[in-house]
């Protein structure tokens, strides 16, 4: 059967032609900041890698406190290329969150959340939360000492929030302490709950992006802008990035294999120098630096509330910005720079101290 006949047959049933036409229409504006357009797709690609390697790991992983560590050890030592799949999964998670941050901040600074793309921004912030949730839940799964204590500290911080804190802590931990119940629960979140929600939100996010097309910097609105076809030009360029990402992941897995450490022991004291993954570090470091008591309030609670309010403001950003007022634009740009510098600075401090 020739390819053309098959295409015709499928098209009669699936209406491929209209999809193809839409795809052919998709264009990417070319300007000084076009490079940032790559990062959304890169994040999606890395997410795909996570799903793939995650499913493979699922074939051997065992989510109980008695067997989790041994099963990961098994994957890394006995299963052929297990070391590769596992290290790729761990490295790709970190790379994905990094590209996610870059994507988010590039959208912020280009103010791509302007109407009509507000909902795209909202789904995007939601995706940030989901990604961080993936990272937090996945980190515990090897059930090693570092992860055990990181989870303990992390859920404890969540528990400090007034009113909802304690029930949240119990919900996350599956009890009052971090135990095998926590592991099972986190596993459920990581492989079922979060993937289901993320799929829905990602699809929404992507549909919205296709609907509205790529946003261009405000200054270029109304002016003629060179465009590049998505298929095949931009897509092939995207592909180059993805291929290089695969290379980077392979290199990281082979040269800097992800550590396994020692099995978690609930009764052993916390190892020295415990700290969360880098994407939590700036918050963790901030909390560490806030004095124990500020006026009459618990410093830690204030810190968490501050981050909560900050997050909320970040979420409703499109509604706070007003493009008509140039002073507000300046304010937002400044705030953005401060936020980036703060995050970077505190992450570095967190690493060094």
């Amino acid at each position: 059967m020739k390819a053309e006949t098959l295409t015709l047959w499928l098209d009669e049933r699936l209406n491929l032609t209209s999809i193809a036409q839409l795809a052919r229409k998709k264009e990417i504006p070319l300007h000084r900041h076009s490079i940032w357009y790559y990062f959304g797709g890169m994040t999606l690609f890395l997410f795909g890698i996570q799903v793939g390697t995650g499913i493979l790991l699922l074939l051997y992983y065992r989510p109980s406190a008695e067997t989790a560590f041994e099963s990961v050890q098994f994957i890394v030592t006995e299963v052929q290329f297990g070391w590769l799949i596992r290290s790729v999964h761990s490295w790709s998670a970190n790379l994905m969150i990094a590209t996610l941050f870059i994507h988010m901040f590039s959208v912020y600074f280009m103010r791509a959340y302007r109407p009509p793309r507000e909902i795209t921004w909202l789904t995007g912030v939601f995706l940030l939360l989901l990604a961080v949730g993936f990272g937090f839940s996945g980190y515990l799964l090897p059930w090693n000492k570092l992860a055990f204590f990181a989870t303990k500290v992390g859920t404890e911080i969540a528990g400090v929030v007034p009113l909802v804190g304690k029930p949240t802590l119990r919900f996350l931990r599956g009890g009052d302490e971090v135990t095998g119940a926590t592991l099972t629960r986190f596993f459920g979140f990581h492989v079922a709950v979060l993937p289901a929600i993320t799929t829905a939100v990602v699809v929404t996010h992507l549909i919205l992006v296709q609907m509205h097309g790529m946003s261009i910097p405000a200054g270029l609105e109304g002016k003629p802008v060179k465009k590049m076809k998505f298929f095949p030009s931009f897509f092939l360029r995207d592909l180059i990035g993805w291929v290089l990402a695969i290379g980077a992941l392979a290199a990281l897995a082979a040269i800097f294999p992800w550590e396994l450490g020692e099995k978690a022991d609930a009764f052993a004291p916390a190892p020295a120098g415990i700290r969360p993954e880098w994407y939590f570090l700036f918050m963790f470091q901030t909390l560490k630096m806030i004095p124990a008591k500020v006026l009459s309030f618990d410093g830690e609670v204030l810190g968490i509330l501050a981050f909560g309010i900050g997050g909320l403001l970040w979420f409703v950003l499109p509604f706070l910005d007003n493009p008509a007022k140039p002073r507000r634009r300046m304010l937002f740009k400044t705030v953005g720079v401060i936020v980036v510098v703060y995050i970077v600075a505190l992450t570095i401090i967190g690493f060094v101290s």
Binding site: Q73, T77, P232, S233, L236, V243, L244, A251, W258
Partner: protein, 433 residues
């Protein structure tokens, strides 16, 4: 007895009790004070200074808590407040007993099996007899007053059971109790024996185990010298004493050529190489023909013992080096991210073989240790190979990576070229239109 439930009868019963109450009360009062009137305590508790010490110490005293009090040892009359009556020597009162009388004084009860059975059936009753065989006992009998008697170690008042951590003879306190005399050079001047035993002992591995690890099974003075029959073990019986714990070494020694030789040469078993009080954890330097070795004290170049020592040391060094080599490569593999817990576990067998070979040294025959060292080296080599395999696997992965990277980069470049090509074609097409 149904009638007893009726009201008037109850009332009468109650009245009877109430009537009796005062008399019962008086009885109690009387018996409490006659809970042995102890005039000794009454007076001595009021005297300031050392004379009131026995009263203060009696709290917690193992005798006092069983109703054995002052007069049971010192005699006299505790019912009288009159000192002349209470402490009448003519009527048998013993003030401060003479040292030479003490073993007999204590032995009056402690050697009486029937008496002791009432208090602690499992306590030994031969301490006095044992004491008479000890150096202390023999010296005491010969008239020497400056020796340890029962009270020197156990105390006279405020005596506590041996298992009581506050007792002077509790495992952790024994050495200090002995050292109270034995470490004082002026006190011990007249006895021509060294006084460095305690100092040496505190540097020993036994003392460190006992005091730092709180391992009460570690030996202190009495475990080797005996408590009541305290005497240094004879030269030919040291191995038996050490062998209480170090069974294998003692057994091997006793079937070795050294046993007879040491006996003939009047050389102390075990202690000749390991010392008696300041016993250090032995290391391999003790074996062989180096300057720190014990063997060269007797053996010199040319004799068979010298050769045997040299051979044994060589073999032990061989397995020791093999194990550190294996450890080192496994460390390297682990640092590079490879998982090597199984070879590490297997290496334990080699470490066990090394420990065993060090024990087998006490047979003083290279043939004895050969077999175990061979198997240990074998295991160690296997672990080394596993470490090597892990490093090879790592290198294989890196080569695989390099190869894949080549293809990946190649692919990236080709896609780029394709893009360029497609766009130039588009450009051409556009130009033509």
């Amino acid at each position: 007895m149904k009638a007893s439930n009726s009201f008037p009868y109850n009332c009468r019963k109650l009245m009877r009790v109430f009537a009796l109450a005062p008399s019962i009360g008086l009885l109690f009062f009387v018996s409490a004070s006659a809970q042995k009137k102890n005039s000794c305590v009454d007076c001595h508790s009021q005297i300031e200074g050392t004379l009131s010490e026995p009263v203060r110490l009696s709290k917690g005293d193992v005798h006092d808590s069983r109703g054995i009090s002052c007069v049971d040892c010192h005699r006299g009359d505790a019912s009288s407040d009159d000192m002349a009556v209470a402490m009448n020597r003519k009527k048998g009162f013993i003030g401060k007993p003479r040292s030479s009388d003490i073993p007999g004084l204590c032995g009056r009860c402690h050697s009486d099996a029937t008496f002791m059975k009432a208090f602690n059936p499992s306590l030994r009753v031969d301490q006095e007899r044992e004491y008479s065989t000890s150096v202390h006992g023999k010296l005491l009998k010969s008239g020497e007053q400056k020796v340890a008697t029962c009270v020197s170690c156990h105390g006279e008042h405020g005596i506590r059971a041996v298992i009581d951590p506050q007792s002077k003879v509790y495992a952790l306190n024994v050495a200090e109790t002995c050292a109270a005399c034995h470490a004082k050079s002026d006190y011990m001047k007249s006895f021509k024996i060294p006084n460095d035993q305690y100092d040496k002992y505190r540097t020993s591995v036994h003392a460190r185990t006992l005091y730092e690890k709180q391992d009460l099974s570690a030996p202190t003075c009495n475990d080797c010298h005996g408590n009541h029959g305290a005497a240094p073990p004879g030269l030919a019986s040291v191995a038996n004493v050490c062998g209480q714990c170090h069974v294998r070494q003692a057994g091997l020694f006793q079937s070795s050529p050294h046993k007879t030789v040491f006996g003939l040469m009047q050389v102390g078993e075990c202690v000749q190489c390991h010392s008696n009080h300041g016993i250090q954890a032995p290391n391999d330097e003790l074996l062989g023909v180096g300057d720190k070795s014990a063997c060269t004290q007797c053996h010199s170049e040319g004799d068979s013992g010298h050769a045997a020592a040299k051979k044994m040391r060589e073999r032990i060094d061989e397995i020791s080096a093999s194990i550190s080599g294996a450890n080192e490569i496994l460390d390297r593999a682990e640092r590079s991210g490879m998982e090597v817990s199984k070879p590490r576990f297997d290496l334990n067998e080699a470490k066990d073989a090394l420990t065993q070979s060090r024990v087998l040294v006490h047979a003083f025959s290279p043939a004895e240790i050969d077999k175990i060292i061979d198997s240990g080296v074998d295991v160690s080599n296997k672990s080394y190979e596993a470490g090597g395999a892990a490093l090879n696997e790592l290198s294989f992965r890196r080569k695989g990576l390099a190869g894949s990277l080549f293809f990946i980069l190649f692919l990236a470049v080709l896609i780029y070229l394709k893009v360029r090509q497609l766009e130039s074609r588009q450009q051409t097409l556009q130009n033509e239109s």
